[in-house]
Amino acid sequence: MQIGVYMKNPKKTRRSRAKKINRSRRGNMLVFLMLLLLGGFMLLPVVYTIVQAFKPMEELFLFPPRFTVVNPTVKNFKLIGQLINNLWVPFSRYLFNSVFVSVAGTAGNVIIASMAAYPLAKNNFPGKKLLFKIVMVALLFSGGVLGLAQYIIMAKLHMINTYWALILPSVATPMGLFLMKQFMEGISDSLLEAARIDGMKEFGIYWNIVMPNVKPAWLTMIIFAFQGMWAMTGGNFIYKEELKLLPTALAQIQSGGIARAGVSAAANLLMFLPPVAIFLITQSSIMETMAHAGIKE
């Protein structure tokens, strides 16, 4: 929270600019050059996608391939509109599935993880340290290492081919709990004590006092949860076409092969926009939250 104040305070900003005592001009040039180079590398695929999306058909197959577009066109985007009418299942269904799963999963993630984070951060009870330690170990199991075993469990619970299979595994993320807990530790105990004296129950304290105070943390969780769920294909857990998600629909559009290069770039570009928008909105909160993301030795 201090950082937010620090940034909004013009006096301090000026001082931080004056502090550049240890910054030589040559060093600055070098830093600038490196950022330009690495930034170029990172941006290249994104820019190339944008360029491809606006290329007319004949430019997509130019030889030698050109990085730039000469006659930009929105034909590719229009073509998406036509192609989505040919899908197995109405496009609106895919869109609904993706939006529903991402929103429900993100909301569930934020609420359930922060509800568990509050007692872990602020209260003392038997088993607290053990529970948090287990979650910290789970933080290491990134990616789909557990995907296979999750599949077996979901098959046993008859969750395959339901929305549950998409939503539930993403709700209890170690990352969400970890970030929330770290951030909540910064809340002053006297605030909570005052609420307790006023007769508030723990859940009331969590919902009415803690949550409004950790807004940056849950905004950060929103972007982490959303970016993962939005890109999810549902792969192993969903076989019913009408429950599949947007990336699957787009894969169908792209399956036309090389001739659909422009369309597929356009589709990927459209998919890219929602997470970017959320990131930009939540950006300053993310910085505030991640400052707390440290592991004690």
Binding site: I3, K19, K20, I21, N22, S24, V31, L35, L38, G39, M42, P45, V46, T49, Q52, F61, P64, P65, I112, A113, M115, Y118, P119, N123, F125, P126, L131, L140, F141, S142, G143, G144, V145, L146, L148, A149, Q150, Y151, I152, L168, P169, A172, P174, F203, A231, N236, S264, N268, M271, P275, F279, Q283, M287, T289, M290, A291, A293, G294, K296, E297
Partner: protein, 322 residues
Amino acid sequence: MKERTRTRLMWAYRVFFPKKAKRTRSLWVEIKMNRQNYLMLAPYFILFTLFTVIPVAVSLVLGFTYFNMLETPSFVGLSNYVSIFLNDEIFKIAVKNTFIFALITGPISYILCFILAWFINDLPKPLRTFMTLVFYAPSLSGNLYLIWQFIFSDDQYGLVNSFLMTFMDLGITKEPVKWFTDEKYIMIALIIVQLWLSLGAGFLALEAGFKTVDTSIYEAGAIDGIRNRFQELVYITLPAMKRQMLFAAVMQISSSFAVGNISVQLCGFPSTNYGGHTIMTHIHDYGTIRYDMGYACALSTLLLMMMLIMNKLITTVLVEKD
């Protein structure tokens, strides 16, 4: 009714473990007092148990069985592990490639995260936001990385190939390089893509870490004779943000162990001569293609153990440095 069962249980406990009895009662009282806390923890930990703890246990147990999803698993002892280590030639390739990813992209991406966060920290606000987005964009981009198929395309229409062939007439390549299908180049291409994708939560944590350092310490340091940005980094900034650095290290390394999906998407499955084969794709092979779940679970268990050991190593190395 419930109360009675409980008292009976406690009575039995006291009879069998007389020494522990006193502690147990106070523990029970404590648990009861904290009922609200446990209720709040419940939804998370039920789901966490279901989708994280039990899967780990399932991988562990099924690793000792033969299981094809249809019949009940039959216990086969260590035979899965024996065939993994003794008979599975492709597993060796998978381990080699996984370690190449872990030992090359892990550290490089960590250093990249660090350097970029450090550089970005010096920029004025609007530019800093923009650059953060630029570097974090790949993590946000979902399936956008498939564009690398066109950049590293096998024919001369690929950006990299056409660049190599037109601008370097000096005989470097006359033929288009088959980036994703020639086993000599698969790993290079995949490492580049993986590096591009790898600036994630660790990067954001480091960037935030740089911002938390109190600026007045820098001023004090300058008076004490710190001359340039490197001295400032080594003597002031690094000690102040150890925790974020540890977090980022853990995130970067463990994610580089789990590379697999991009290999399947970009090189196809199986990749030429298993050139881009990792443990993750090996699990994918046995689990979702051959339905040999026991074998796949044994592989998962091994990968989990590698991740744990590697992280233990990192944390001890990073912590001991200071």
